[in-house]
């Protein structure tokens, strides 16, 4: 059975854009391995020639014409941007993107 070591948990955390303390990592390692133990049951099922099911109904996702239908005026824009943590000149502010972080 696959079992995740701490290094694997750290990698998953990085992919998930999450971080944990050392103790937290160990706790998640335990919990995730318990989940994996439950999930392992699917590996032995014969699924040769079985199509994956992506949605309960056979459907292709509907498409729409590539035109703007939602007209957002200044008042609406203001209402939407009121939700943002930081706004300046109608722009969403984040920390500097171009720097030397990994």
């Amino acid at each position: 059975m696959s079992s995740l070591d701490l290094q694997a948990i750290e990698k998953i955390a990085k992919l998930s854009q999450l971080s944990f303390t050392k103790e937290g990592l160990a706790n998640y390692q335990h919990d995730l391995n318990e989940m994996l133990e439950m999930i392992e049951a699917i590996k032995n099922v014969d699924t040769q020639n079985i199509e994956p099911l992506t949605s309960p109904h056979s459907m292709s996702l509907r498409t729409r014409h590539d035109v703007v239908t939602e007209i957002v005026d200044e008042a609406q824009q203001g209402a939407l941007q009121k939700l943002a943590p930081e706004i300046e000149s109608k722009l969403f502010l984040v920390t500097k993107v171009i720097d030397d972080h990994n």
Partner: protein
Amino acid sequence: MLHNKTIAQLIHGLRSKEFSSFELTKHYLQRIETFKNDLNSFITITEADALTQAKRFDNLLAKNSEKIPALAGIPIAYKDNFCTHGAKTTCSSKMLESFVAPYDATVVARLKKAGCIMLGKTNMDEFAMGSSGENSYFGPAKNPWNLSKVPGGSSSGSASAVAARLTPIALGTDTGGSVRQPAAFCGISGLKPTYGLVSRFGIAAFASSFDQAGIFASSAEDIAYILPGMAGFDEKDSTSVSTVIPDYTKTLNRSLKGLKVGISRDFWSEKCSEEILKLIEEAIKELQKLGAVMVDISIPTANLALPVYYVIAPAECSSNLARYDGVRYGYRCSEPKNLADLYIRSRSEGFGAEVKRRIMIGTYVLSAGYYDAYYLQAQKVRRLIKNDFSAAFNKVDVILSPTSPTVAFSLHEKELDPVSMYFSDIYTVPVNLAGLAGISVPIGFSKGLPIGMQLVGNYFSEALLLNVAHQYQKVTEWHTKVPAQFN
């Protein structure tokens, strides 16, 4: 008492002016206020707006206007993952603690147009992930039958509020059982419609190929009044199915003579408590007296449903929750050092433990080297489960089972073992995997705690499910019981 009336009685009472919409709304708001600390069912109470709407309907009713919508004046509460314009939508998460949606979910807009008056937003497991209500950032809702027990989850507050008659109707969402299981734990009726029947637009996404808005009420008849107001094609939901929405109240009284009910005792008995099995057999006898015929069936892949669900649902959730990055809305960490720090700390500080667990396992099963073994394989097994249900529905009209293997467990009982919590949904999850319709109705009590029976129907068979549930409720009284403290 007003809070013990059915939806039909409320509609009649309002139109015949036996009581006003203002009186009715005020009555429920007062009950919410009285019991809010005991139950913690509500996150937000929208008192001022509710009373304003109520007065508006009273004016319409006074003029005997013909433009009175079908559900005018009927109070309703929404699980706090339905976007409601002007009222907070928190998903019971620190991540969205102050979030106020700039629009209504389609379902909310439709029910508002139909005349429903929103009393408030109800407590839930964070981002709909949980089976007890204990994963809420705002503390758990309580079970009105025993305040030391969980109401179930993830639609914990909606179930708790209806069971305590703080609202006649509440909406929840059901991804793996999150309407049916809390309905069973709280002794009320809860419907999960067929996937695609009800629009998901404006409902915070957890697992997009499973999520469905569902209805809590004290009876199947009450649910039948509400469902047409919210169901039906929505062009804003790309998975919405175009199908005729009938008047579900018109077929409630069809005879059950000759109805074929599929039962799979082998599947239930090894996991279910003795008391639940006993009450299920009594419910079976009631249905037989009504003319239904029991047929032994088998869903051979049913025992794979939980593992499949806990691959696919977390995978979908890891994608859906990627939007919570602290940039455009939601929680942002203080003084981020750089963009990566902004993302990572906002998410790590904003999400609770269960949400992080599911994001992590979802990310893992989708990652390079593991995608085929887990995610792709789970999707193939999901098709086998759907095929098994289709084969069963060639032989039967509905499938019956317990809703949950146990009654409501104690608060904190399963905190240290999150995986054991997942087994609460062992009978409900297969229904979401196949996208079928399912309803839970109360069938009795064990040591003072309610027990529910699940009926599963083929695609778009809500009329039949509500008919069967209603006929059962006409010959039994479990659905009329209210906990003494809240009566």
